[in-house]
Amino acid sequence: MRKLWQFHGGIHPDERKSLSNQSPITQAGIPEKLYIPLQQHIGAPAKALVSIGDTVLKGQKIAEAQGKISVSIHASSSGKVVDISNHPVPHPSGMLDLCIVIETDGKDRWCELETCDDYSTLQPAQLLEKIRFAGIAGMGGAGFPTEVKLHPPRQSKVNTLILNGAECEPYITSDDVLMRERAQEIILGMEIMAYILEPGECIIAVEDNKPEAIAALKTAAALTRIEIVTIPTKYPSGGEKQLIKILTGKEVPSGHIPADIGVMCQNVATARAVYRAIRFGEPLISRITTLTGLQVQQPGNTEVLIGTPVRWLLEKAGYAARKQSRVIMGGPMMGFTLGNLDVPVVKTTNCLLAADAKELPLPPPAQACIRCGMCEQACPADLLPQQLYWFSRAEEFEKAEQHHLADCIECGACSFVCPSAIPLVQHYRYAKGKIREQKLEQEKSNNARLRFESRQARIEREAAEKEAKRKERAEAAALAQAAKRAESATDASEPASREDKSALVQAALRRVEAKQNQQAIANGSAEPVDIETLKKKLLRAQDKFEKMTAALDSARTSEPDRVDALAKATQASREALEKLKAELLAHPQNNEGSTPEGPALEELESNLSKAQGKLALMLKTLEDARINKPETVEKLERAVEKNQERVDAAKHALEHALSSSRTSEASSDKNDTTAVKDIT
């Protein structure tokens, strides 16, 4: 006996399966017209290969798979293509989609099929190609292309191959009868899948409410390594994630696929379709569909050609619409109602349920949520449905996402148990849709922002390139000019040899270079600073300083609480000013200039005298403090020290300025370096 695990929650709705599983599978027959949609699977729609007026044979490929995730479509019966146009297709929205319409000739003539007695003579790749060619997509409901799913997935190996025969939804019995009557084909189909995937174990899981199916499978699997596992009946044990939990105890991590944990689930009907495709070369052109509900006179399971209109099928089974009737494609828990019975049966149509309001009563008006928590007890994904409900209602989508709305499988268990009859799943669908919308919006605006930014960057880059080119040109021009001048100078004095000229040019270049270097050193940076700008800066700083001192003075009288801040600011301003002065003095152009900077010198002198005056004042205060306020002495002493430094600096600057104005150019280098030291 295999160890089984339990998934959280789950419900036990009224099964009502005996309505349709009491009789053997019947053949639905050939309708007059087949409406075959080009998209019955997840992925890209197939591309039509036929055109109006073409005659087609049963099993002939009429549309080719497009792209990686797609499957081909085949004619379900022989006849003539009469239309390729939009037609209602099975979809909750009731939308139209491209369909190939075949007028059947009733002869049901097959095209030539490629059979294969022994699949093991073929390579897995060849088998996969055949499965893709046969147009097989998951028949449990989602319709994911089987060939894509069977591809040895991203490095991870499939250890456990599971065939899902749980069929946990009420009413549906198509897998049940299939397992009873075609158990052998299912087993053989699974063996082909196992040959492709080489899994460690093969399991077919069936709910314990299908004893006949279990018995049939066990007989058919007697000599194989396939294990038939009976699992307890509980909705939604047939959900892929829930089934994996039941059988392996493992959970598929959120946002991953089962193959990432070495598990793969396939539907039993899919396995059978794989067998038919490999063994007989039959493409997927028919499936078993349950016709059930009390409004169907002859409920049961029938093998239907893909593309058969639902109306034709239901009327054949004795259906007459009454007041307040519903026709549901799928089961009562997750199926969707059809608004139009002209839609065709597709590869994923496992059930058609026709019921009136007596059988499936309309939901009563929703009452207030009393937070009873029954939904939480029922949720198979361990979510907090009522919290999600509150968040969805309040449009707090971020919180809903934090509560893992994305992990909701929309099984409907919470709505089923809700005593207040709140259509919870509908709220979640709404929230999911909104979140999707918002994400798209965000992506759009992100893209727009990126576009804008890159455009901005491009414009800036182009401007910078232009500027660089301009500079380059200017430099080249200056160089040429210098060379010319040098040439003309030599030309004027005495006719010199060519070598002399070139030597002169080089000397000129060297001078230019030397000048640049000097500037760089003087400014403490590579960028040469123009003396004019420096002077301007100085003027501005002086201006500011004067204003500030004025403000400080006025503040001293009127706003004593601002004095501190102002004094600090003034101090900073004064420092900036001094720095600028020093810089100006040290500037090579200044030194080079023949006229000594008169006003700067004067200013320095006045600075010095000011600083000295202040120092004297401070010393006096210090003396006072020593007598009166001993606790402030330390602070004052520090201030005096600082001031002393400032006086020294001012003296130094003055001396330096004096000497630099007096001394010749030859000694300026040395002074420059000291000036640099002063500044830094």
Binding site: R322, R326, G373, E376, H404, S420
Partner: protein
Amino acid sequence: MTLLRITSPHTQGAQRTANVMRTVILATLPGLGVITYFFGWGTFINVIWCSICAVAFESLVLGLRHQPVGFFLKDYSALVTAVLLGLSLPPLAPWWVSLVAIGFAIVVAKHLYGGMGYNPFNPAMVGFALVLVSFPLEMTTNWATPSPLLQDPLTFTQTLSTIFGTPSVAVDAYTMATPLDVYKHEISHNTAVVVTAKPVFGNFVALGWEWVNAAFLLSGVFLIWKRIFTWHTPVSMLVALTVMSIVFGWDADRYTPPLLHLYAGATMLGAFFIATDPVTSAVSNRGKLFYGAGIGILVYIIRTWGSYPDAIAFSVLLMNFAAPFIDFYTQPRAYGHAKAGRSESEG
């Protein structure tokens, strides 16, 4: 014939909110019967009186709020509040105490907060707490003496006239402090043996009270079995209360012993009928464990060191405050997620 178009699921479970509420009301009946047997008609009259007032207030407020009166009355939630309040009030409390309590519960605690499903605090307990702090005299002196201790218990009409303001007999002769009250005050100057010898404690734990609590315990188990609520809140509350009373009250000569905590006062009513109110409690199963334990601990603390002999109302209200906080930290681990709760945001 147009076809109905509805989203899935197309089928519904049988459980309706009205059924839930009705089942809760029915489950209180055994307890009410036992109370009536041991303490006279007072509580019975209270329950009826509270129910009448509750329906009246509910209709009035729903009318004022322009809500469909019939639709909301049919969910029986007002009746549940009324019954629980009626069961909690002292049996011989005057009619106006009940009126104020139920009026405040329905109008303020329920509808002013948004009505059914939106109230953060248990309405019945809000009403109870209001009258407890407003009319301490009426709320402490009107506990009925157990009938076995009376020569001549009050008849139904005598009780009726006592409650509705024209007492034909002296009420004092028919009232008595509750066992929890008596034990708490007597144990400071007596030994356990002396205290429990008092008639109010009867032969087992507390005369009458033990059977009332047993009845509510049984009804509570029945409700768990009927899946009206899960076991988490009541069990964790009772376990917490027991553990607290064993840890602190092992010496019966100093503190109230565990059995008295469990089987006297409103313990079982509180654990199974009041703390389990879904609207105001924590959501997840793990959250309910914390929520229930919090109530149990608070009940013990207030009973032992507080000035009130019983403490269900205050404990429940305090934990109502904490419920959203508990919810925030006890989000269950969703399928396919490594960790539980809010810390994981990448999904």
